[in-house]
């Protein structure tokens, strides 16, 4: 019964808000011990998907099983075994850091002594000991996020759901969270992570799906996706629009894919150096000026660009208007 070992199993799940389809029949499975990523721009349907998984929002159609149980009928039992870092901050602002953890332990009916012990462990693990007595309202965004993650660990969850855990954090705080997540993963915690930071996905996820407008565009490991769609390297070139096609054709045998990105042309290749040399020689011969060029490793952002023809930033503006709560 290999299939039923999956921690999360989504079959054709659909989420509709009135007439609007936010998630349009997606399929995926999260295996024990892995970090599974949901990658997509704002409004892609990431939060809608995870909210169904933790039983907050009812599944419109399809079947969604967590730990082999139906989330629509067994939510309490399932929720007892998962930890949730939601996208929006919902810490208790009236309570101190320590109280937040203790009160949360109560919702899991963890015995007082054990709750106290875990609270201390979590304060230590998340580097919050100095702030234990501080009222949450006075914490910085980074500390709040750390506390939110710590709070999600109070029941020692088998599955950790992280909805954009590092959005809005500075690089230092982000790395701290990543480090902790890696430790948890080593300890065997299964994770489901949504993000629109491609670096985050490449750093943490074993497998991921790219979702866009409620549908899955691609699925695989970060490296697989990069190899499959864009190759190892990306060459960014500043060329006028009229010349773009000619430039691309000049080294067609080396170009795996191409995309325009603002004023630049991006060529993807498995042989970046050769491509760069070829293009430069050709441009010199033709007398076409290259105002700018940069060779860099290809990343998930490029995959995304390639798959959707958009950058993640370009879609940021379509922020969910009817978000509600």
């Amino acid at each position: 019964m290999a299939q039923t070992d999956n921690i999360v199993e989504a079959r054709n799940i659909v989420k509709k808000f009135a007439e609007f389809v936010a998630v349009n029949g997606i399929n995926f499975a999260v295996k024990p011990g892995e970090c599974f990523g949901l990658l997509g721009p704002n409004g892609a349907g990431k939060t809608s998907t995870v909210r169904m998984i933790y039983g907050f929002s009812p599944v419109t159609a399809g079947s969604l099983k967590v730990f082999g149980r139906d989330i629509m009928t067994d939510a309490r039992k399932i929720k007892a075994r998962i930890g949730i870092v939601s996208q929006d901050d919902n810490l208790d602002p009236d309570l101190s850091v320590r109280e937040n953890l203790m009160v949360y332990a109560g919702y899991f009916r963890i015995a007082r002594e054990l709750a106290r012990q875990r609270t201390e462990e979590i304060l230590e693990f998340m580097d919050l000991r100095d702030k234990a007595e501080e009222v949450v309202d006075h914490l910085s965004g980074g500390l709040r996020r750390r506390l939110t993650l710590g709070r999600a660990l109070i029941n020692q969850p088998e599955l950790l759901i992280l909805d954009e855990p590092t959005t809005g954090l500075d690089p230092y705080a982000r790395h701290l969270v990543w480090q902790r997540l890696r430790k948890l993963k080593q300890a065997g915690t299964t994770m489901l992570l949504t993000t629109h930071y491609l670096e985050e996905a490449s750093q943490l996820c074993d497998r991921l799906i790219v979702i866009y407008r409620g549908e899955i565009l691609e699925e695989g490991t970060p490296l697989e996706l990069i190899e499959r769609h864009v190759g190892k390297d990306a060459l960014e070139l500043g060329v006028v629009p009229e010349q773009r096609e000619a430039v691309t054709d000049s080294a067609a045998h080396l170009v795996k894919a191409s995309q325009t990105l603002g004023d630049d042309l991006v060529l993807f290749s498995n042989h970046g150096r050769e491509l760069s040399t070829a293009v430069n020689e050709w441009a010199e011969r033709q007398g076409i000026p290259l105002s700018y060029q940069r060779l860099r490793p290809a990343n998930l952002e490029d995959v995304f660009l390639k798959l959707t023809g958009e950058t993640l930033e370009a879609t940021q503006n379509e922020r969910d208007a009817g978000g509600g709560w």
């Binding site: 808000f17 933790y54 907050f56 929002s57 009812p58 939510a75 309490r76 039992k77 929720k79 007892a80 949730i84 939601s86 929006d88 901050d89 919902n90 810490l91 208790d92 602002p93 009236d94 309570l95 109280e99 009160v103 949360y104 109560g106 919702y107 899991f108 009916r109 029941n155 509600g324 709560w325």
Partner: protein, 268 residues
């Protein structure tokens, strides 16, 4: 129309309540209350005490007797009820709305084994508790003024409790449809204040024009005021039973609505 239908969806189903977790929600609110109760009690408490002074002693000089009682004696039992009413309605409107929307406390809770029904039930209990607490404190003031004439007086906590529960339910219903804080002004101006003035606290409802004399009967406050007066004076009769039945029935009948409405507002 479609919206009302959405909000009432599932109203005929049995709520998903697990009492041990309801109590956790209640205790969370208690924990916050413990931090602020002094300022809190003063705020809700001063106003009725001022009324007792101003009306009871000030106006009482001119009003010789009302229904055979000194004015302050007539007034005091009603103010026990209104003190409870204000405590509950403030908590279940501004307070609950803050937890529901601004702080997303409810969202945090339901990410655990706690269900949304547990959360709202915990809120109702907390609102009821606050009403009873403020009712009790005011009862003690009335006692100090020497206005409690019967040992049955302490039983005012029963009607106060039932009434506070009804106000929890009604306030949460309003909260579930409130778009923002401003809308609570309507709630207080349209419902709470008129109730305060016309539910037999300051004058017997028999003084109202015949055509609208039935209106107080529709309010929970009126029934609690009448029962409180009867208990404080130790004079109850058949009509007291009627008031009690009214409170029990309405508390039970309105209980399902906030559970389903808050849930339908939040869960989409």
């Amino acid at each position: 129309m479609g919206k009302a239908k959405h909000l009432l969806q599932g109203v005929t189903s049995w709520p998903d309540i697990y009492w041990p977790l309801v109590s956790k929600v209640f205790l969370r609110n208690m924990k916050v209350f413990q931090k602020t109760w002094k300022a809190n009690i003063m705020f809700n408490f001063i106003e009725p005490v001022l009324y007792l002074w101003a009306m009871g002693f000030g106006l009482g000089v001119y009003v010789k007797s009302i229904a055979g009682l000194s004015y302050i004696q007539f007034l005091a039992p009603g103010l026990i009820a209104s003190s409870a009413m204000f405590a509950t309605t403030y908590e279940m409107t501004y307070g609950s709305f803050t937890r529901m929307s601004f702080q997303k406390t409810f969202h945090g809770m339901v990410a655990t084994p706690v269900s949304m029904d547990d959360v709202v039930m915990g809120e109702i209990l907390y609102g009821t508790f606050k009403g009873v607490l403020y009712g009790l404190v005011f009862f003690l003031v009335v006692l100090l003024f020497g206005l409690v004439k019967s040992p049955f007086g302490i039983l005012v906590l029963i009607p106060v409790c039932l009434m506070a529960m009804i106000f929890s339910n009604l306030s949460l219903i309003w909260t579930s449809i409130a778009p923002n804080y401003d809308s609570f002004n309507y709630f207080f101006t349209l419902f709470v204040s008129p109730m305060f003035l016309f539910s037999g606290i300051f004058f017997p409802i028999q003084s109202l024009p015949v055509a609208i004399r039935f209106l107080p009967w529709l309010t929970p406050l009126y029934h609690a005021v009448e029962l409180n007066r009867a208990l404080v004076l130790g004079r109850f009769d058949g009509s007291s039973v009627g008031h009690l039945v009214w409170l029990v029935a309405v508390a039970a009948l309105t209980l399902r609505l906030p559970l389903v409405m808050v849930k339908n507002r939040l869960v989409q």
